[in-house]
């Protein structure tokens, strides 16, 4: 699954723009991922300018 490191986030919305499943929600200062819809494609991980998102094995969470 994709983990969010909230304190690093600048809320630029790049991850929302590239997400193929439209499963990322960005309000003024919160970012959430709908894990039910997420397909772990990691596009958000790569596009994030600040390394806010990272892929982790589910067991680690």
């Amino acid at each position: 699954m994709i983990k969010i490191i909230q304190y690093k986030c600048d809320f630029c919305g790049s991850c929302v723009a590239v997400c193929p499943e439209d499963c990322i929600e960005m309000e003024e200062a919160t970012l959430t991922i709908d894990q039910e819809l997420c397909i772990d494609c990691e596009l958000c991980v790569f596009i994030c300018p600040f390394e806010v998102l990272e892929y982790v094995e589910t067991a680690e969470v």
């Binding site: 630029c12 919305g13 723009a17 590239v18 790569f46 596009i47 300018p49 390394e51």
Partner: protein, 393 residues
């Protein structure tokens, strides 16, 4: 209170696209509400803040309060530091978007639009297959508000289009992952845009140094999504700053994404219009999005107001807006897109060779057209595109 009022048009997003659409729709006598999710119009600024004087003058006389620098020269730096300087025929500005965006919103308000901040839209209302309003949260309280037309000006992270079934996802290769620092304690030429083109500094994009008055500049870069698997944009920028401006101090750091794409094929549907970054209207080669957003905002506002007067909010009527945008911007953006695809794939060696060839042209005879003609020499099909897009620049 806005939640109890009736509006003809709801604009989602209070950036240049949204404010301009609201301004021109209100000017044409319809009731408009702008919903901005952040607490402030125009902040945080996610932008290099460069515009052309000519572009801005389509809408208003530039106010000196907006302008931090007036630019008349360009410097291109190749991977091995060949420096190409030339004069621009037209002038450019570096804006202070905090002041500029406030004023754009104010212009809309003075025409009668209502603007609300901290109003987060998280869904659309439908009448059958026609968009009929928005739902959202205001200060954490849910609300639903109906309108005849919704204008989606919700930026690169747009979801308004997706909720109505439009394909607005940005492809990785066309997405620029950007970081910018406003830095001080450095020497800059206040009249010059600097661009660094190199796979080593910013693969698939470029680095910009835009002066913001004396000893201050917006220094940023964009890396194509195609190339950011190994290293993130902020690491690329830190490497550049350490190398070229080791003694800089940072005033602000922002992240951003720029959709360097052709305009989306479908930008209207029943009861909905997309405008600005949400419709992928950024100039795909330069990444400049303010003027295209405002041009499209004007068309969107006028078209929506006419649609309301004609009581026809269907896709067919609203597609006048797509056709008009294609004529004044979309078609040229297709040419810029082809040029971008060629320029960003040049190797560092090829870029150095182009710089060397351009340096043989005397400085006062260098033009952007001549430089690009050298750059596309191996792709004769693009010569027409170059002459078309740079005519008059």
């Amino acid at each position: 209170m806005w939640r109890q009022q009736k509006f003809d048009i709801i604009v989602v997003g209070g950036g240049p696209a949204g404010s301009t659409a609201a301004r021109y729709a209100s000017m044409n006598g319809v009731k408009v509400l702008v919903l901005e999710k952040d607490r402030d119009i125009g902040m945080p600024v996610r932008c290099g803040e460069a515009v052309s004087e000519e572009g801005l003058k389509n809408f208003m006389d530039p106010d000196p309060r907006w302008i931090k620098s007036t630019i008349s020269k360009i410097r291109l730096v190749s991977p091995s530091d060949y420096v190409v300087d030339f004069d621009m025929k037209a002038r450019g500005f570096i804006l202070d978007r905090r002041i500029f965006d406030y004023d754009l919103a104010q212009m809309a308000a003075m025409e009668g639009a209502t603007i609300v901040t901290k109003a987060y839209v998280n869904g659309l209302l439908f009448d059958g297959d026609c968009v009929a309003g928005v739902k959202g949260k205001y200060l954490s309280e849910p609300f639903e508000l109906r309108a005849k037309i919704v204008i989606g000006a919700d930026g690169v992270e747009s979801r308004v289009g997706r909720w109505a079934g439009l394909q607005t996802q940005v492809k990785m290769k066309d997405m620029l992952s950007c970081v910018q620092k406003t830095v001080t304690g450095i020497e800059v030429d206040e009249r010059r845009f600097d661009f660094y083109l190199s796979k080593k500094w910013a693969p698939g994009g470029y680095i910009w140094v835009f002066p913001k008055g004396k000893n201050r500049a917006n220094i940023g870069l964009g890396v194509s999504g195609k190339y950011c698997r190994e290293k993130s944009a902020y690491r690329y920028l830190d490497e550049f700053l350490q190398h070229c401006y080791p003694n800089h101090s940072v005033l602000t750091t922002v992240a951003g994404g720029v959709p360097c794409d052709k305009t989306l094929k479908t930008i209207v549907t029943n009861g909905l219009i997309l405008v600005g970054d949400s419709a992928h209207m950024v100039n795909p080669m330069t990444g400049g999005g303010i003027i295209p957003a405002m041009k499209a905002g004007l068309l969107a506002g006028e078209t929506a107001a006419k649609a309301i007067k004609n009581k026809d909010y269907g896709e067919k009527y609203l597609s006048r807006y797509s056709r008009e945008w294609h004529k004044i911007g979309g078609k040229n953006h297709e040419r810029y897109y082809r040029l971008k695809n060629t320029i960003t794939e040049l190797s560092d060696e090829e870029l150095d060779n182009i710089a060397k060839a351009v340096l043989k042209i005397p400085e006062d005879e260098r033009t952007i057209t001549k430089i690009f003609l050298k750059a596309v020499m191996k792709k004769p099909k693009l010569i027409y595109d170059v002459t078309k897009v740079f005519a008059g620049i």
